[in-house]
Symmetry: C2
Amino acid sequence: MTASKDTDQWVTPEQFEVWRQFIKVQARVLRRLEADLLDRHNMPLAWYDVLVRLLEADHRRLRMSELAERVMLSPSGLTRLVDRMVDEGLVARSPAERDGRGFYAVLTDVGYERLREASGTHLRGIHEYVVGRFDEEELATLASLLRRIEP
Amino acid sequence: MTASKDTDQWVTPEQFEVWRQFIKVQARVLRRLEADLLDRHNMPLAWYDVLVRLLEADHRRLRMSELAERVMLSPSGLTRLVDRMVDEGLVARSPAERDGRGFYAVLTDVGYERLREASGTHLRGIHEYVVGRFDEEELATLASLLRRIEP
């Protein structure tokens, strides 16, 4: 169960350490990115992620179910998040026309403006904490190793 | 803000794609590991993580503040989690003797047993979804790239 015990059948201690490092490094980076967004733009990282996914979508809108999938939240978790973003005017709700089931989340002009203001901070963080630390070849190696993990 | 727009100053589209892949791959792996634990042991991944951290600690106990740091949860988030684990008898609370401030979370025998039952599933998942996909040299390369990301 730990790096030193009971790991011999499936995972060696060395493998377990790399696994832990993989988890820890990403959690720390996400924490720093969120701290920067909160400090400078009063915006949680999950809000930023929702705004970007809406900006990328056709007509700047997504069905709630599709948005939940993209930001990797549960439907109930996303509903709570979007409720707060609607209260702040960053997102609007729009009924799904055709089948009358469900709602779209739509990026508002205010949401776009807030995203535009925050994006420099966020991208600078991604550069500083992660991708800017590698040259092109190293980045390609990392990408190729990550692809091996994908299901 | 997306891979194709506004990323030129800090992050190239290629770098942005690797960043997204890094996040996505880990989220998917964690989701699969959690699904396995829930299916087979009715145990959320965060519970497993708490049980392992307690097992690794001296006297199988940790101050709540220290445990929160290790499992990377907010103090309030950890309190809610541990409340439910205490209800199920996996963890006990014990007052911190010396200064009278705060509590320890302590691994119970029931908690140890549940962890022991679940650990095969979890370690097998770490093998199958991640570390077993690399040979020794590749794993060392991944570890060395991850170390570059650490703050």
